[in-house]
Assembly symmetry: C2
Amino acid sequence: MIQDPSPKRTPLETLGEFALIDRLTSMVQLTQKSTTLGVGDDAAIVNHGGKDSLLSTDMLVEGVHFDLTYMPLKHLGYKAAVVNFSDIYAMNGKPTQLLVSLAASNRFPLEALEELYEGLNLACKNYGVDLVGGDSTSSMSGLVLSLTAMGEVDKGQAVRRSGAKPNDLIVVTGDLGSAYMGLQILRREKTTYEADPNFQPDLQGHEYVLERQLKPEARQDVAALLKDLDVKPTSMIDISDGLSSELLHLCKQSVTGCAIFEDKLPIDPATIRLCEEFGLHPATAALNGGEDYELLFTVSISDWDKIKGNPNLTAIGHMSDADKGSFMINQAGDQLPISAQGWTAYTTEETQK
Amino acid sequence: MIQDPSPKRTPLETLGEFALIDRLTSMVQLTQKSTTLGVGDDAAIVNHGGKDSLLSTDMLVEGVHFDLTYMPLKHLGYKAAVVNFSDIYAMNGKPTQLLVSLAASNRFPLEALEELYEGLNLACKNYGVDLVGGDSTSSMSGLVLSLTAMGEVDKGQAVRRSGAKPNDLIVVTGDLGSAYMGLQILRREKTTYEADPNFQPDLQGHEYVLERQLKPEARQDVAALLKDLDVKPTSMIDISDGLSSELLHLCKQSVTGCAIFEDKLPIDPATIRLCEEFGLHPATAALNGGEDYELLFTVSISDWDKIKGNPNLTAIGHMSDADKGSFMINQAGDQLPISAQGWTAYTTEETQK
């Protein structure tokens, strides 16, 4: 009945998620005095007269972001909330409220949604966040979750992606790549189970990587740690899509290049062992695996003494001038360009070595 | 692989949307000092030290909430934003920021999503709201939109659903039932078109009801109007699901009953004519049609002189003690119970007359 007036059709697959968002939001104009920061960071910054409020939203679609064959609903609820809180921590803030909307098809009974809410409530309890609103509706297929977290930070104290300078040190919390190897274990067990339904999954010995995948935690401790160390990051982001993707976000928005060192990447021994088992290069899991929910930030070189030797923090490289590009220096001393295309592109490069 | 541990399965269809939300949020505990009001109103109230911030979220699913055969994407974007703003106005607030998440299957090209964003941006421009964030992802089927609006109101000045007292006057803005009749027209044209694809839809003469359905506006004027009149509502809600459903929300949360008068319901002459054509009672369209996005509020009886005769406002009845129940008094003087079940239940009753 309604004719499509636009003869041009650009398939979404030809754009990445970030290019799509850039394109869609290119016409957005900000006019509110209360808007301090709009689209393009881990969270927006709004000020209604007191502290700065932080707002971040995430949408999770069954079959795209999660697979209920190996993700119990309670874990899904927990993870969905934590992932949102992580965006607030990545602004140097503290999450305070959460809104939860869900669309569920009629294959989900009430009890399933109650399990999901158990996970959401547990995350809210563990992180001191109030679930204050939401919406629920039916869907034509599967489960869609949309969460919006609100947080607070002292006025002007939010840390953006855009403040890094050349020579700033690049620091990550915790270790990288484990969540991705947890996913590999779960996928392998699912494939085996599908071939033989009598197969009993054996997940023993893989507790750490499975927990990193199924019940990740956000780094609520880092803001206080940095305050104690008297360090204010110049830029910060959380690692959801993988180190390489997040590094490129910081470089793009700070207008810098970067150099990181493969031998500095913090990777857990269990993850390294699994990478060997799966025939993957550990650096590839760390760079492109994603879902670690660690924080990646930059600090002035003059803060090096304050963070040196802290078991929670690892310096992995430094920012550089934008025209130098973004590289990882491997153990042989080769400079490998860091790619935004993530997994596939980088794997190809790794495989070619 | 994961066994369902809960043998009990309660189908979602056996619960209404509101019962489901009540059930899911029954375990929610609020602990944040900054949370003034949680789940259960048009918006949550949060205070980070300045004005009160209002937060409201809505999820819209293709095939459930909209049909793209007669809802152009630009209109969908506009309406989705306006519907969210309406929730903020229903708290006596002013929307200031908007977050937009969408999941789209690959049948949508970039140009389709750009059209959707054109509508979102136009609504933001018309209402002075900043689009500050969001998420975009792929979906397995169709389009899912999740919008979160943030607003502001002077501290303590938000109007909740819970403040009405017996004898308070019940007032509505604008007119009711038109958006529903616009939907009837669109559905009729779609059916005719499906039977004969060469059929050219004739929507002439139905501009008003179609605009109410396809491009509704939220009542951004009412807060200022009431301020000018020196009237503060005791309770307020926006009419999204239909007058009867919203009245019952106010009664439940204010612990009152209510009595409204059929002959007081403000219904546009074009809507009345269409109701006759479709064989519907106009009061049924007004009570159960929904999507009018007018405001429904209560005021103290002592404010009657201030609102009397205002062309934007219609007093339709009054609140009563809770044990009196909730009724509409028809032109014959009969008391008809107001039902939360909306359309179907009430239509049956109408048909039996």
